[in-house]
Amino acid sequence: MAQTFVEKLMSKKAGKEVYSGAIVSIEPDYVMSHDNAAAISNTFKKIGVGKVKYPERVVIILDHEVPAPKESSATNHKEIRQFVQEQGIEHFYDINKGICHQVFVEEGFAMPGKLIVGSDSHTTTYGALGAMSAGIGRSEVAAIWATGELWFQVPETLKIIINGEMPRYISPKDIVLTIIGQIRADGADYKSVEFTGETVLFMDIAERMVLTNMAAEMGAKNGYVPPDHVTFDYIRGRAKAEFDPLYSDEDATFFQVLEFDISKISPAVAKPHTVDNYCPIEEVAGTKIDQALIGTCTNGRISDLEAAAKILQGKKVKARTLVIPASWEIYREALKKGYIETFIDAGTLVLNPGCGPCLGAHLGVMAPGEVTFSTANRNFKGRMGCREADIYLGSPLSVAASAITGEITHPGRFL
């Protein structure tokens, strides 16, 4: 019978034909965790097996609080380093690499046809390269460290077809915020979301990663872009292993197929305090902002920095502005291309790669009554460390334009 991508992948792993709704116990190819590896290692120790079953499948990347802002985070990091040593985990990346999701992709772990899980909800990102990747809980990671496998329910598939040419002030972030505004935060609950259509075909890997990263904000189990020459070009020389691309059959059973024409959309904004609280930017234009944030695992890649630099070139920012490249590889490239200098000249603060203020732990925490306009993926109450603060989400172009004026501004004004 015809199968979707995820049905094929799980069938292959389970060694029998399975369809959506079935529960299978299967072995992921990689299991990613970050600063929460310390807590996971404690749970792991309680299981009592002693040794991680497949240390070569474990990837740990420190990024959430780097460098450590306080004693407890430093202790966390120390425990992780010890655990990594004891267990002989070779795929360990210390505080000098960048955000876990970016580093995981750059290092070539995200490959077509692989099953990848991680103790972070935005593990969905790796589907941009044709992998099946999903966020799981900490105990689940501990269980995989111990046994190598985990139970999964084979998800149904929601196919999202995106057509139309992106206007010059539109980026994938606007597209995905617009879609989430329509289907809402639970619109893809427990689903595998497959992004196709001519707009997606013409996107590079960085752009596709915005879609799959934000799939988590539709409630999806995973996001997936069918791998093509763009994918293969990107992973050539990076791939950590052999891989086998998998695709949905044309006549597979999809839960739903939705089509979007994006040629006439406005830059999109998610208003406080939910990601599906969508509006076109015109509706909130003029809202005063105190802080602008350009970075995170959603929009801290080189094309995002290029977009921001294009707008900030020769200008000065009014709002205090934080720029955080998603990894040191990106930082280096931005340096070479002159973007970092542009940012410094514009009066922004360029920070070290990592999650920064995205989760409210450090490096740009907000005060009561303040407003941040951010390129991140979440704007929940309290997310940036203060319950009485407002977070708006938008694209790097929109955030950069607004940083200059000190209020939410349509990026078309500077393009």
């Binding site: 807590a39 299981i47 799981i136 809980g137 105990s139 427990y190 997310r383 319950r387």
Partner: protein, 165 residues
């Protein structure tokens, strides 16, 4: 075998996110489950932890547990005394986390509509029934793998049990 539970219903609305179930500011603090329980639903219903009884039942609207993958949001609720959660629908990771914590999560929009805050509700896991004042509602019983995790009071104990045999 996990059988029948009866408890008082605590009913809440739609889209309750993990930040109000277990505040983000505690997620990177080391805490035992009993300590986490003291913060359960802290930003949603400050009275919850002082009034909830062992064996009570949580009833919620759609997309319960949306947001973060933090497991504490399931652990805290369970250790506060909640035996089972019934909701119109669950956010994916919360559903998994609840089961892995040994706390059944049952999707039943009909039962959620019927149940009034504070009433006694009975859940029969093996039969797949929710018995309320307004009638009995059925749900598909869990597959075997999931039942085993629940019977062992969570994923970690389940893993321990298979490793020891």
């Amino acid at each position: 075998m996990i059988g029948k539970f009866t408890g008082k219903a605590w009913k809440y609305g739609d889209n309750i996110n993990t930040d109000v179930i277990f505040p983000g500011k505690y997620t990177y603090q080391k805490m035992e489950p009993e300590e986490m329980a003291k913060h359960a639903l802290e930003d949603l219903d400050p009275e919850f932890t002082s009034k909830v009884k062992q064996g009570d039942i949580l009833v919620a609207g759609k997309n319960f547990g949306m947001g973060s993958s933090r497991e504490q949001a399931a652990t805290a609720v369970k250790y506060a005394g909640i035996r089972v959660v019934i909701a119109r629908s669950f956010a994916r990771i919360y559903f998994r986390n609840a089961i892995n914590a040994g706390m059944p999560a049952i999707k039943s929009p009909e039962a959620v509509d019927a149940i009034e805050n504070g009433e006694e509700v009975t859940v029969d896991m093996a039969k797949g029934e929710i018995i309320t004042n307004k009638g009995t509602f059925t749900f598909p019983p869990y597959p075997e793998t999931v039942m085993k995790i629940l019977e062992n009071n969570g994923l970690i104990n389940f893993i321990k049990s298979i490793i020891q045999t």
